[in-house]
Structures are given as C-alpha cells and as structure tokens.
Amino acid sequence: SENTKPAEEKQEKNVVDEKENEKITLKVAAPSGPTTVSLIKMFKDKPSFGDNIEVIYESIKSPDLLAAKIISGEVDFAVVPTNLAAKLYNKGVPYKLAAPTIWGVLYVAGTENVEKWNDLKNKEVVTIGRGLTPDILFRYLLSKNGLNPDEDLKLNYLSSPQELAQTMIAGKNTIGIIPEPMLTTVLMKNKDIKIYIDMQKEWKKLTGYESYPQSSLIIKNEVLEKYPKVVDKFLTEYENSIKWVNDNPDKAGTYVEDLNIGLNAKIVEKAIPRSNIKYVDASNAKSAIREYLKVLFDFSPESIGGKLPEDEFYFER
C-alpha cells in the first residue's frame, strides 16, 4: 500500500523531515497553450525561491496526464480549467484555487457572413467536445441571445482543437468556435477566415463581469500550509510573468517556441492579446468565478463536480 494515498503520504514525510536545509522540490504544471504562455517567464527564468528549493516546470499536452498528476499529488502548482479545479475540490483532491489567470480564449470565426447572433441561424457550427466548457458557454450565449442551440443551428463536434483547425483551414467547415492560439494559426493559414464574435465580450454584456475565468492556478494544500512564503513568492512571480508576457509578446513567443511544444513564436505573439491573460487573486475574483461556475452548474452539475464549491475552495492570500 505504498502507493495508496500519494498526496497524504508526502505530507507525512515532510512533517517528519522538515529541516531548514532540507532540499525541497516543487512541481509546476500547465497545459500547453495559453496557460503555458502565461507562465513562460517563470519557465524560462526559473526564479529562485530559496537555496534549498528547486522548482520544476512542465508543459503538458495531455489533459489525462495533467489530471493524473494532480490527483496523484505529484504537482504542487498547476494551472487548470477552472471547472476542473472545482471538480477536483468537490472530489476531495486537496488543492485550493489561488488565482484565475486566463480569462477566456474562445472566438466564433469563419468564412461566412455573420455579424450578429441571429446570423448563425440555420448554420453549421463546429466546436470541440460535446459537454465541454466551450460547448456549454456557446450554448449559454446562444440561448441568452434568443437562439435554441438544438434547433436553430447545427452543432458539429470534433475531439481536439487541432482537428478543428485543420478542417477550418481546409475549408471543410465554415464556422467554428476556435480557441487561441489555434485561432491565430487558422487566421494565418486561411486568409478568408474572420472573427465574428468574441465570446468574452459577449459574456461581459450578459453578466457584467469583465470576462469568465477559464483557467486558474491551483496549489496543493500541503504546500499552502508548509511553505506560505514560497506560495506568496510564487504568486508574485506569476503576476510578474503575466505582466511581462502582455508587455513583451514577441519575446514571450520566442521563449514558447524554445520549449518545443508545437507552438510557433509568431503565432504566440499574435495570440497573446486575444488570450486575455490576467492575474487576479482568488479573493478578488470570487464572485466572477462563482458566476462562471454557476452557469456551468446550471447546464450540467457534473461539469463542476456536483456542487458549487464552498469558501475554503478559494485561497485567501
């Protein structure tokens, strides 16, 4: 039973072993995409958190792997879809949400003439993953804008943004919900494609919140308790990194390309402004997060793990 409760086991070890000069290794993981972009300065510079602390950064493409690493307690800091954070919390995985950082990367784009929501009527729209957040949000916006998602238009689903991009570029689909940075790729490879709707802005129109917190930083409870200073430093560094990224999209682009995760500098650079990367402490974003989770919950309670998380879900800095 050595493997049983990895998270807790580690915790016990640290309680016993904690000494001033004990070497501590912390792991940071983020899905490749805008989240990795948001962290890129830290990936690159590896800011110091103390002599005895080593921090390892990892960009992860496979959502399964990311989830596995979090569930097994292998990573200490992770930037994950906010609803995944809620799910993990509701399932008892000991992490807290520290700061939403990606405020929406979804756009409706295509080659047809669409200016307002009503123009989508009777059209075919391709999107990723039935029941996943882009789908839920799009359906939410559709219904709030007077369209019935199941009757007024036809939704086609693909399983990954790559496939979505490929079909859009090839012109097999004419309207799609495309996330950044795929959107930039698509726009560059097929000049006929235009952005119709910025779903973040539409969200603002409906809810009054600036945007919806698509992804957030979560931190393992154990780390929050044992190394509050490290956590504080980490949040500051992250905030700096995000600022830097927004100020230096070109450099950020080259850094990301150097990571070799299949993202090209030019594309990253162009995608950054549309990626809505912005650091907000959880305590300051509670209501925005709640509003977002509520929408998801209303659509399908399971998508956030069955219930709205309690206050302790949010880390108070």
């Binding site: 039973s1 409760k5 799910k87 993990l88 008892g92 993953g129 029941g131 079909t167 399971e302």
Partner: protein, 249 residues
C-alpha cells in the same frame, strides 16, 4: 451436465473473488476518484441504465461494432482466402495490410471524419484494428490447410470454388474463430474509444467520455462493466455458433 455446473461454479467463484479483491483494494485506497467501491459503482451503474438515452447509446455502439466486425470479417475472408491461394493477390495486398496494421488511428481520424463523418469513423477505426487480425489468422489457417485434401480434391477434379468453400473454408474456421472471439470484444472496445475521438452522439463512447471528463470514476467503471457484459454476450453467441459448426468433433 455435472461438468457444466462445475464450470459455472468455478466461474462464479472467480467473479466473486474478483469483486472481493476490488472491494478490498477500494477500502485500502479509499479514494472514490482513484478506485470507487463496488457499491458506489453499482449505484452509478443503475443510474446510468435508467438514463433515457441509455438503450439507444448501447444500441448505437453495438450496431457500429457489429457492422464493422462483419465488414472486416467478410473482407478478411475473401481477401485472405484469395491471397492464401493465389500468390500474386497475396503480394498485392501485403503492403496494404501492412499499412492498415500499423497506422495509428490518430493519424487517420481527421481524414476519416471528413470523408465518413462521426457516424462511421468508429467503424473505420475498428476495421483498421481487426481486419489485420482476421486476415492474418486466415492466412495462417490456409498455410495449415491439409495439403493432402487439396491434392485429393484436385485429382478428383473438384471445381476450384467448391474446394475453397468445402475444404479451405472449414479448415480455416478454427483460426477464424480464434480471430473472431478476440475481434468481437476488441472491436467493441476500439469502437468505444473511436466514438470518443470522433464525438459520436448517443453512444457508449460519449457516455464514458462524459463520466471521465467529470472525474466520475464510478461512472467510468459502470460503462466498462456494460462493455464487458456486451462482450461476454458476444462471446457466448460465438461459442454456441462454434459448437454448432463443429458438430463433427
């Protein structure tokens, strides 16, 4: 009869032991997300079965799975027997089968979605996996046909197609059965995976993906149990068929 009862008993014991082991492990691990308990899974299973679309999802997946299976089977039998008997056919199909055998599904799923749509893509993905299995079993079966019987039939000037039908075909049946027993179950599993990749609506793949996305491991297990049961029913039918065909044994 007595021996059949005994077999059933062993089977039941084995299943019981497995469930106990599961329960035991789930107690040790004590994490619904990492290994849900059998009870929790049973509750989930019941709630899944009660869903309105449940039967349609199961039906769709079974339909896709069987369609793919039979297409693969028929093609494999025809191409397999022809290439087992005629060398040129063999060498013409060799590279094709080689490509089919080792092309990772993710490499062709997009093209397939474009050309076949999400309805038929799982069938194609399944085909790419099971066709080579059936094909190679048939080839191996033909390699092991009793040459003496072929000689005999040729001496007595039996028509080629009747030799194929009445000697080659029954000879490879046992190899084909070995292939079919695996492929029915395997294809079900592959079709389910492909349903996820191709986002087929109202399907076991969709159900499974939904539970997995929601980190509801008990729900995932429930779907696995459903797949296992379907596959067991397939196997049982095949066994009955086999006993019928091999009545000479």
């Amino acid at each position: 009869m007595n021996s059949i009862l005994k077999d059933r008993l062993y089977l039941l014991i084995s299943i019981a032991v497995l469930i106990m082991l599961w329960k035991f492990l789930s107690l040790i691990i004590d994490s619904e997300i990492m290994l849900p308990s059998p009870e929790k899974t049973l509750i989930e299973l019941i709630s899944i079965i009660k869903q309105k679309t449940f039967l349609r999802a199961v039906f769709n997946t079974i339909f896709r799975s069987l369609t793919g299976f039979f297409i693969s089977l028929i093609l494999a039998v025809i191409i397999g027997i022809l290439s087992g008997i005629f060398k040129p056919v063999h060498y013409i199909f060799k590279p094709i089968v080689g490509i089919i055998k080792s092309t990772p599904s993710i490499a062709i799923i997009l093209l397939s979605l474009i050309w076949l749509g999400s309805e038929y893509t799982p069938i194609l993905v399944g085909f790419l996996i099971i066709f080579p299995i059936l094909y190679s079993n048939i080839i191996e079966g033909i390699r092991n046909v009793d040459e003496d019987l072929i000689e005999m039939a040729n001496i007595y000037k039996v028509k080629k197609w009747r030799i194929i039908k009445e000697i080659y075909f029954p000879s490879i049946l046992s190899y084909l059965m070995a292939g079919a027993v695996t492929c029915l179950g395997l294809n079900l599993k592959v079709v389910i995976a492909a349903e996820v990749l191709s986002q087929s609506v109202v399907s076991i793949g969709e159900g499974l993906q939904f539970e997995k996305y929601n980190l509801n491991t008990a729900g995932v297990f429930s779907w696995v149990i459903i797949a296992v049961i379907i596959s067991a029913i397939f196997d049982y039918s095949l066994l009955k068929l086999q006993n019928r065909i091999e009545k000479w044994k």
